[in-house]
Assembly symmetry: C2
Homo-oligomer: 233 residues x 2
Protein backbone atom coordinates (compact mmCIF):
# COMPACT_ATOMS: atom_id res chain seq x y z
CA UNK A 1 0.00 0.00 0.00
CA UNK A 2 2.87 2.32 0.87
CA UNK A 3 4.46 2.04 -2.56
CA UNK A 4 1.27 3.10 -4.34
CA UNK A 5 0.85 6.26 -2.29
CA UNK A 6 2.17 9.53 -3.67
CA UNK A 7 5.47 10.36 -1.93
CA UNK A 8 4.47 14.03 -1.86
CA UNK A 9 1.48 13.16 0.31
CA UNK A 10 3.73 11.13 2.61
CA UNK A 11 6.11 14.09 2.76
CA UNK A 12 3.25 16.34 3.89
CA UNK A 13 3.09 14.30 7.09
CA UNK A 14 6.75 14.92 7.92
CA UNK A 15 7.82 17.86 10.10
CA UNK A 16 10.26 20.55 8.99
CA UNK A 17 13.64 20.81 10.64
CA UNK A 18 16.64 23.08 9.97
CA UNK A 19 20.07 21.80 8.97
CA UNK A 20 23.35 23.72 8.79
CA UNK A 21 25.54 22.31 6.01
CA UNK A 22 28.24 24.95 6.39
CA UNK A 23 28.59 28.53 7.65
CA UNK A 24 26.72 30.02 4.71
CA UNK A 25 24.26 27.20 3.96
CA UNK A 26 21.45 26.72 6.44
CA UNK A 27 18.32 25.13 5.07
CA UNK A 28 14.92 23.90 6.16
CA UNK A 29 14.48 20.25 5.25
CA UNK A 30 11.91 17.45 5.38
CA UNK A 31 12.42 13.88 4.14
CA UNK A 32 10.31 10.76 3.69
CA UNK A 33 11.76 7.27 3.09
CA UNK A 34 9.55 4.43 1.88
CA UNK A 35 10.20 0.82 0.85
CA UNK A 36 10.59 1.74 -2.80
CA UNK A 37 11.78 5.34 -2.87
CA UNK A 38 12.16 8.60 -1.03
CA UNK A 39 11.05 12.22 -1.26
CA UNK A 40 13.03 15.25 -0.12
CA UNK A 41 12.13 18.92 0.22
CA UNK A 42 14.50 21.78 1.07
CA UNK A 43 14.08 25.55 1.38
CA UNK A 44 16.23 28.59 2.16
CA UNK A 45 13.14 30.83 2.62
CA UNK A 46 13.55 32.23 -0.91
CA UNK A 47 13.42 29.06 -2.99
CA UNK A 48 12.27 25.48 -2.56
CA UNK A 49 13.77 22.32 -4.06
CA UNK A 50 12.25 18.86 -4.38
CA UNK A 51 13.30 15.36 -5.33
CA UNK A 52 11.10 12.29 -5.56
CA UNK A 53 12.77 9.03 -6.65
CA UNK A 54 11.55 5.48 -7.24
CA UNK A 55 13.39 2.13 -7.43
CA UNK A 56 14.38 2.67 -11.06
CA UNK A 57 16.12 5.98 -10.37
CA UNK A 58 17.84 4.51 -7.31
CA UNK A 59 19.17 1.57 -9.36
CA UNK A 60 20.47 3.86 -12.12
CA UNK A 61 22.08 6.36 -9.76
CA UNK A 62 23.68 3.71 -7.56
CA UNK A 63 25.31 2.17 -10.66
CA UNK A 64 26.49 5.60 -11.80
CA UNK A 65 27.97 6.67 -8.45
CA UNK A 66 29.02 3.36 -6.87
CA UNK A 67 30.49 1.17 -9.58
CA UNK A 68 32.07 -1.29 -7.13
CA UNK A 69 28.93 -1.64 -5.00
CA UNK A 70 26.15 -4.09 -5.79
CA UNK A 71 23.26 -4.04 -3.39
CA UNK A 72 19.47 -4.23 -3.38
CA UNK A 73 17.51 -0.97 -3.59
CA UNK A 74 16.24 -1.55 -0.07
CA UNK A 75 19.86 -1.63 1.21
CA UNK A 76 20.61 1.72 -0.43
CA UNK A 77 17.40 3.19 0.98
CA UNK A 78 18.15 1.82 4.43
CA UNK A 79 21.68 3.26 4.31
CA UNK A 80 20.46 6.66 3.09
CA UNK A 81 17.86 6.76 5.86
CA UNK A 82 20.52 5.92 8.47
CA UNK A 83 22.69 8.76 7.13
CA UNK A 84 19.95 11.39 6.85
CA UNK A 85 18.23 10.81 10.20
CA UNK A 86 21.25 11.86 12.34
CA UNK A 87 21.68 14.90 10.07
CA UNK A 88 18.09 15.96 10.84
CA UNK A 89 18.77 15.50 14.54
CA UNK A 90 21.85 17.73 14.38
CA UNK A 91 24.33 14.89 14.96
CA UNK A 92 27.69 15.00 13.16
CA UNK A 93 29.38 11.82 11.94
CA UNK A 94 33.12 11.73 11.23
CA UNK A 95 32.64 9.03 8.58
CA UNK A 96 29.98 10.88 6.56
CA UNK A 97 30.42 14.13 4.65
CA UNK A 98 27.51 16.17 3.34
CA UNK A 99 27.98 19.01 0.86
CA UNK A 100 25.39 21.19 -0.76
CA UNK A 101 25.44 23.02 -4.11
CA UNK A 102 22.49 25.22 -4.87
CA UNK A 103 21.11 27.59 -7.47
CA UNK A 104 17.55 28.92 -7.81
CA UNK A 105 16.63 26.00 -10.08
CA UNK A 106 18.65 23.06 -8.72
CA UNK A 107 20.07 21.82 -5.46
CA UNK A 108 22.45 18.88 -5.17
CA UNK A 109 23.06 17.40 -1.75
CA UNK A 110 26.18 15.20 -1.98
CA UNK A 111 26.80 12.42 0.52
CA UNK A 112 30.13 10.61 0.91
CA UNK A 113 30.09 7.71 3.37
CA UNK A 114 30.55 3.94 3.35
CA UNK A 115 28.41 0.82 2.93
CA UNK A 116 29.58 -2.71 3.79
CA UNK A 117 33.16 -1.46 4.15
CA UNK A 118 33.22 0.16 0.69
CA UNK A 119 32.96 3.88 -0.17
CA UNK A 120 29.35 4.94 -0.74
CA UNK A 121 28.36 8.06 -2.67
CA UNK A 122 24.94 9.56 -3.16
CA UNK A 123 23.57 12.71 -4.78
CA UNK A 124 20.14 13.98 -3.85
CA UNK A 125 19.36 15.85 -7.10
CA UNK A 126 16.58 18.30 -6.40
CA UNK A 127 14.93 20.69 -8.82
CA UNK A 128 12.85 23.81 -8.15
CA UNK A 129 9.58 22.85 -6.43
CA UNK A 130 6.34 24.11 -7.99
CA UNK A 131 4.45 26.97 -6.34
CA UNK A 132 1.71 24.57 -5.25
CA UNK A 133 4.19 22.71 -3.04
CA UNK A 134 5.28 25.96 -1.36
CA UNK A 135 1.63 26.54 -0.46
CA UNK A 136 1.04 22.96 0.74
CA UNK A 137 4.24 22.60 2.75
CA UNK A 138 4.79 26.15 4.04
CA UNK A 139 2.01 28.70 3.54
CA UNK A 140 -0.95 26.54 4.65
CA UNK A 141 0.77 25.08 7.77
CA UNK A 142 2.07 28.55 8.72
CA UNK A 143 -1.42 30.04 8.39
CA UNK A 144 -2.80 27.19 10.50
CA UNK A 145 -0.16 27.74 13.16
CA UNK A 146 -0.69 31.50 13.17
CA UNK A 147 -4.39 30.87 13.73
CA UNK A 148 -3.64 28.56 16.65
CA UNK A 149 -1.20 31.04 18.18
CA UNK A 150 -3.68 33.88 17.70
CA UNK A 151 -6.31 31.84 19.56
CA UNK A 152 -3.82 31.14 22.33
CA UNK A 153 -3.07 34.86 22.70
CA UNK A 154 -6.80 35.64 22.92
CA UNK A 155 -7.39 32.83 25.42
CA UNK A 156 -4.44 33.86 27.61
CA UNK A 157 -5.45 37.54 27.48
CA UNK A 158 -8.96 36.58 28.59
CA UNK A 159 -7.53 34.46 31.44
CA UNK A 160 -5.34 37.40 32.50
CA UNK A 161 -8.37 39.70 32.68
CA UNK A 162 -10.08 37.19 35.02
CA UNK A 163 -6.95 37.10 37.22
CA UNK A 164 -6.89 40.93 37.29
CA UNK A 165 -10.53 40.96 38.42
CA UNK A 166 -9.71 38.45 41.19
CA UNK A 167 -6.68 40.50 42.36
CA UNK A 168 -8.72 43.71 42.28
CA UNK A 169 -11.33 42.06 44.50
CA UNK A 170 -8.68 40.98 47.04
CA UNK A 171 -7.25 44.52 47.10
CA UNK A 172 -10.66 46.14 47.53
CA UNK A 173 -11.25 43.79 50.50
CA UNK A 174 -8.15 45.34 52.11
CA UNK A 175 -5.77 42.43 51.46
CA UNK A 176 -2.09 43.31 51.10
CA UNK A 177 0.88 41.36 49.84
CA UNK A 178 3.18 39.77 52.43
CA UNK A 179 6.46 41.62 52.80
CA UNK A 180 8.18 39.16 55.09
CA UNK A 181 8.11 36.50 52.46
CA UNK A 182 11.11 36.36 50.18
CA UNK A 183 10.31 38.21 47.00
CA UNK A 184 6.87 39.10 48.32
CA UNK A 185 7.31 42.79 47.62
CA UNK A 186 7.87 41.95 43.95
CA UNK A 187 4.61 40.08 43.57
CA UNK A 188 2.54 43.15 42.74
CA UNK A 189 1.74 43.05 39.05
CA UNK A 190 0.16 45.71 36.85
CA UNK A 191 -3.23 44.86 35.30
CA UNK A 192 -2.99 43.63 31.73
CA UNK A 193 -4.51 46.75 30.19
CA UNK A 194 -2.13 49.02 32.09
CA UNK A 195 0.79 47.49 30.30
CA UNK A 196 1.50 48.49 26.73
CA UNK A 197 1.53 44.81 25.83
CA UNK A 198 -1.57 44.66 23.71
CA UNK A 199 -2.70 45.14 21.00
CA UNK A 200 0.76 45.22 19.43
CA UNK A 201 4.02 43.70 20.54
CA UNK A 202 7.17 43.21 18.54
CA UNK A 203 9.93 41.17 20.15
CA UNK A 204 13.36 42.78 20.16
CA UNK A 205 15.02 39.71 18.65
CA UNK A 206 13.05 40.06 15.42
CA UNK A 207 15.35 41.36 12.64
CA UNK A 208 14.52 44.89 11.47
CA UNK A 209 12.89 43.98 8.17
CA UNK A 210 10.57 41.45 9.81
CA UNK A 211 8.89 44.16 11.90
CA UNK A 212 7.68 45.76 8.70
CA UNK A 213 6.69 42.40 7.21
CA UNK A 214 4.73 41.54 10.30
CA UNK A 215 2.85 44.80 10.62
CA UNK A 216 1.65 44.34 7.05
CA UNK A 217 -0.10 41.09 7.79
CA UNK A 218 -3.50 41.87 9.33
CA UNK A 219 -4.44 39.19 11.82
CA UNK A 220 -8.02 39.39 10.62
CA UNK A 221 -7.21 37.74 7.33
CA UNK A 222 -6.16 34.58 9.13
CA UNK A 223 -9.70 33.93 10.20
CA UNK A 224 -10.53 33.70 6.54
CA UNK A 225 -8.85 30.33 6.25
CA UNK A 226 -11.18 28.88 8.84
CA UNK A 227 -13.81 29.14 6.11
CA UNK A 228 -11.50 27.83 3.42
CA UNK A 229 -11.27 24.22 2.36
CA UNK A 230 -8.77 22.25 4.42
CA UNK A 231 -5.63 21.04 2.66
CA UNK A 232 -6.03 17.62 1.15
CA UNK A 233 -4.18 15.48 3.69
CA UNK B 1 11.31 59.02 -7.33
CA UNK B 2 8.20 56.85 -7.09
CA UNK B 3 8.26 55.91 -10.76
CA UNK B 4 11.84 54.64 -10.61
CA UNK B 5 11.13 52.27 -7.72
CA UNK B 6 10.31 48.65 -8.44
CA UNK B 7 6.53 48.14 -8.12
CA UNK B 8 7.16 44.76 -6.49
CA UNK B 9 8.97 46.49 -3.64
CA UNK B 10 6.10 48.96 -3.29
CA UNK B 11 3.70 46.02 -3.26
CA UNK B 12 5.63 44.46 -0.38
CA UNK B 13 4.53 47.42 1.75
CA UNK B 14 0.84 46.80 1.09
CA UNK B 15 -1.28 44.64 3.40
CA UNK B 16 -3.19 41.56 2.26
CA UNK B 17 -6.95 41.56 2.29
CA UNK B 18 -9.52 39.01 1.15
CA UNK B 19 -12.08 39.64 -1.57
CA UNK B 20 -15.09 37.53 -2.51
CA UNK B 21 -15.76 37.80 -6.25
CA UNK B 22 -18.55 35.23 -6.27
CA UNK B 23 -19.67 32.21 -4.25
CA UNK B 24 -16.83 30.03 -5.45
CA UNK B 25 -14.09 32.63 -5.91
CA UNK B 26 -12.60 34.08 -2.74
CA UNK B 27 -9.06 35.37 -3.06
CA UNK B 28 -6.39 37.13 -1.06
CA UNK B 29 -5.34 40.34 -2.80
CA UNK B 30 -2.88 43.23 -2.47
CA UNK B 31 -2.55 46.17 -4.87
CA UNK B 32 -0.26 49.15 -5.33
CA UNK B 33 -1.08 52.15 -7.56
CA UNK B 34 1.63 54.62 -8.53
CA UNK B 35 1.72 57.67 -10.83
CA UNK B 36 2.90 55.63 -13.78
CA UNK B 37 1.62 52.11 -13.21
CA UNK B 38 0.26 49.57 -10.80
CA UNK B 39 1.10 46.15 -9.38
CA UNK B 40 -1.38 43.50 -8.30
CA UNK B 41 -0.98 40.19 -6.47
CA UNK B 42 -3.68 37.58 -5.86
CA UNK B 43 -3.70 34.15 -4.23
CA UNK B 44 -6.18 31.35 -3.53
CA UNK B 45 -3.76 29.60 -1.09
CA UNK B 46 -2.72 27.14 -3.80
CA UNK B 47 -1.47 29.49 -6.52
CA UNK B 48 -0.38 33.10 -6.81
CA UNK B 49 -0.86 35.50 -9.72
CA UNK B 50 0.90 38.78 -10.43
CA UNK B 51 0.62 41.73 -12.78
CA UNK B 52 2.90 44.76 -12.99
CA UNK B 53 2.11 47.36 -15.66
CA UNK B 54 3.70 50.63 -16.76
CA UNK B 55 2.35 53.60 -18.75
CA UNK B 56 2.98 51.89 -22.09
CA UNK B 57 0.89 48.83 -21.20
CA UNK B 58 -1.88 51.04 -19.80
CA UNK B 59 -2.01 53.08 -23.04
CA UNK B 60 -2.13 49.95 -25.21
CA UNK B 61 -4.75 48.20 -23.12
CA UNK B 62 -6.96 51.28 -22.77
CA UNK B 63 -6.98 51.63 -26.57
CA UNK B 64 -7.79 47.95 -26.98
CA UNK B 65 -10.63 47.86 -24.44
CA UNK B 66 -12.04 51.41 -24.60
CA UNK B 67 -12.04 52.54 -28.23
CA UNK B 68 -14.34 55.51 -27.60
CA UNK B 69 -12.41 56.75 -24.57
CA UNK B 70 -9.40 59.02 -24.84
CA UNK B 71 -7.84 59.95 -21.53
CA UNK B 72 -4.43 60.40 -19.95
CA UNK B 73 -2.81 57.40 -18.28
CA UNK B 74 -3.14 59.16 -14.91
CA UNK B 75 -6.94 59.36 -15.43
CA UNK B 76 -7.14 55.62 -16.08
CA UNK B 77 -4.95 54.91 -13.04
CA UNK B 78 -7.02 57.23 -10.89
CA UNK B 79 -10.25 55.56 -12.06
CA UNK B 80 -8.85 52.06 -11.48
CA UNK B 81 -7.72 53.03 -7.99
CA UNK B 82 -11.17 54.45 -7.20
CA UNK B 83 -12.76 51.16 -8.37
CA UNK B 84 -10.34 48.80 -6.60
CA UNK B 85 -10.19 50.54 -3.21
CA UNK B 86 -13.90 50.00 -2.35
CA UNK B 87 -13.54 46.37 -3.50
CA UNK B 88 -10.70 45.88 -0.97
CA UNK B 89 -12.87 47.43 1.72
CA UNK B 90 -15.73 45.04 0.96
CA UNK B 91 -18.03 47.72 -0.51
CA UNK B 92 -20.29 46.80 -3.43
CA UNK B 93 -21.05 49.29 -6.20
CA UNK B 94 -24.09 48.86 -8.42
CA UNK B 95 -22.34 50.62 -11.32
CA UNK B 96 -19.22 48.44 -11.29
CA UNK B 97 -19.01 44.73 -12.08
CA UNK B 98 -15.97 42.61 -11.30
CA UNK B 99 -15.51 39.10 -12.69
CA UNK B 100 -12.63 36.72 -12.27
CA UNK B 101 -11.38 33.94 -14.56
CA UNK B 102 -8.56 31.83 -13.23
CA UNK B 103 -6.34 28.89 -14.09
CA UNK B 104 -3.10 27.80 -12.43
CA UNK B 105 -1.09 29.92 -14.88
CA UNK B 106 -3.28 32.97 -15.53
CA UNK B 107 -5.89 35.06 -13.76
CA UNK B 108 -7.95 37.75 -15.47
CA UNK B 109 -9.85 40.18 -13.29
CA UNK B 110 -12.42 41.95 -15.52
CA UNK B 111 -13.86 45.32 -14.55
CA UNK B 112 -16.90 46.91 -16.20
CA UNK B 113 -17.72 50.42 -15.05
CA UNK B 114 -17.86 53.96 -16.46
CA UNK B 115 -15.53 56.94 -16.85
CA UNK B 116 -16.71 60.47 -17.75
CA UNK B 117 -20.18 59.11 -18.59
CA UNK B 118 -18.86 56.47 -21.02
CA UNK B 119 -18.52 52.71 -20.48
CA UNK B 120 -15.10 51.81 -19.08
CA UNK B 121 -13.59 48.33 -19.30
CA UNK B 122 -10.40 47.02 -17.77
CA UNK B 123 -8.69 43.63 -17.57
CA UNK B 124 -6.09 42.96 -14.90
CA UNK B 125 -4.12 40.25 -16.72
CA UNK B 126 -2.07 38.36 -14.17
CA UNK B 127 0.27 35.47 -14.77
CA UNK B 128 1.64 32.89 -12.32
CA UNK B 129 3.91 34.57 -9.77
CA UNK B 130 7.41 33.11 -9.31
CA UNK B 131 8.18 31.07 -6.18
CA UNK B 132 10.36 33.89 -4.83
CA UNK B 133 7.30 36.16 -4.62
CA UNK B 134 5.38 33.54 -2.64
CA UNK B 135 8.24 33.54 -0.13
CA UNK B 136 8.52 37.36 -0.01
CA UNK B 137 4.81 38.10 0.21
CA UNK B 138 3.50 35.12 2.19
CA UNK B 139 6.03 32.74 3.77
CA UNK B 140 8.37 35.36 5.27
CA UNK B 141 5.62 37.61 6.70
CA UNK B 142 3.77 34.55 8.06
CA UNK B 143 6.94 33.30 9.74
CA UNK B 144 7.53 36.76 11.20
CA UNK B 145 3.98 36.92 12.49
CA UNK B 146 4.16 33.41 13.94
CA UNK B 147 7.31 34.46 15.78
CA UNK B 148 5.59 37.55 17.16
CA UNK B 149 2.55 35.53 18.24
CA UNK B 150 4.77 32.89 19.81
CA UNK B 151 6.52 35.64 21.82
CA UNK B 152 3.16 37.05 22.86
CA UNK B 153 2.06 33.62 24.09
CA UNK B 154 5.27 33.25 26.12
CA UNK B 155 5.01 36.80 27.50
CA UNK B 156 1.34 36.35 28.47
CA UNK B 157 2.04 32.95 30.05
CA UNK B 158 4.85 34.51 32.12
CA UNK B 159 2.53 37.37 33.17
CA UNK B 160 -0.10 34.81 34.19
CA UNK B 161 2.39 32.98 36.40
CA UNK B 162 3.17 36.28 38.17
CA UNK B 163 -0.56 36.91 38.69
CA UNK B 164 -0.95 33.37 40.08
CA UNK B 165 1.88 34.03 42.56
CA UNK B 166 0.21 37.28 43.63
CA UNK B 167 -3.17 35.57 44.09
CA UNK B 168 -1.54 32.71 46.03
CA UNK B 169 0.06 35.26 48.37
CA UNK B 170 -3.30 36.95 49.03
CA UNK B 171 -4.90 33.56 49.74
CA UNK B 172 -2.10 32.49 52.09
CA UNK B 173 -2.59 35.76 53.97
CA UNK B 174 -6.19 34.68 54.58
CA UNK B 175 -7.85 36.97 52.06
CA UNK B 176 -11.12 35.74 50.58
CA UNK B 177 -13.14 36.86 47.61
CA UNK B 178 -16.15 39.09 48.25
CA UNK B 179 -19.42 37.22 47.88
CA UNK B 180 -21.75 40.16 48.27
CA UNK B 181 -20.46 41.77 45.14
CA UNK B 182 -22.24 40.89 41.93
CA UNK B 183 -20.35 38.12 40.23
CA UNK B 184 -17.82 38.00 43.06
CA UNK B 185 -18.26 34.27 43.58
CA UNK B 186 -17.20 33.68 39.99
CA UNK B 187 -13.90 35.51 40.35
CA UNK B 188 -11.94 32.52 41.57
CA UNK B 189 -9.67 31.35 38.74
CA UNK B 190 -7.56 28.21 38.48
CA UNK B 191 -3.78 28.70 38.25
CA UNK B 192 -2.43 28.57 34.71
CA UNK B 193 -0.66 25.25 35.14
CA UNK B 194 -3.80 23.62 36.54
CA UNK B 195 -5.55 24.18 33.25
CA UNK B 196 -4.87 21.94 30.32
CA UNK B 197 -4.26 25.03 28.25
CA UNK B 198 -0.56 24.64 27.64
CA UNK B 199 1.54 23.32 25.97
CA UNK B 200 -0.90 22.43 23.18
CA UNK B 201 -4.17 24.00 22.19
CA UNK B 202 -6.11 23.57 18.97
CA UNK B 203 -9.10 25.83 18.46
CA UNK B 204 -12.30 24.06 17.52
CA UNK B 205 -12.96 26.33 14.53
CA UNK B 206 -9.83 25.09 12.75
CA UNK B 207 -10.81 22.80 9.85
CA UNK B 208 -9.84 19.16 10.33
CA UNK B 209 -6.92 19.08 7.90
CA UNK B 210 -5.31 22.15 9.47
CA UNK B 211 -4.90 20.39 12.82
CA UNK B 212 -2.59 17.94 11.15
CA UNK B 213 -0.79 20.70 9.23
CA UNK B 214 -0.27 22.65 12.40
CA UNK B 215 1.04 19.79 14.51
CA UNK B 216 3.66 19.17 11.84
CA UNK B 217 5.17 22.59 12.20
CA UNK B 218 7.53 22.58 15.19
CA UNK B 219 7.52 25.98 16.86
CA UNK B 220 11.26 25.69 17.43
CA UNK B 221 12.05 26.12 13.78
CA UNK B 222 10.57 29.61 13.84
CA UNK B 223 13.35 30.83 16.06
CA UNK B 224 15.66 29.93 13.23
CA UNK B 225 14.53 32.92 11.21
CA UNK B 226 15.62 35.28 13.95
CA UNK B 227 19.15 34.37 12.85
CA UNK B 228 18.31 34.61 9.17
CA UNK B 229 18.82 37.69 7.04
CA UNK B 230 15.83 40.01 7.08
CA UNK B 231 13.84 40.38 3.87
CA UNK B 232 15.11 43.15 1.66
CA UNK B 233 12.51 45.84 2.37
Amino acid sequence: MESTEDPENRLLLQPWTSVCFDESTKLMIKVWFGDAGYALLLSDLSSMWYEKVDTEVIQQRSKELNKRLTAHVSSFLSRLRSLICPLLEGEKSSSTIFSCQLSSSTLTLRVKSELSGLPFYWDFRCSAAPVKMVFHHLVQPLMAMSLVLQSQVQELASLLLRKDAEIEDYRESGATLSRGKEGGCCLHSAPLWDTSFLPSFLPSFLPHGWHRACSLWPLAILTWISHTAAPDY
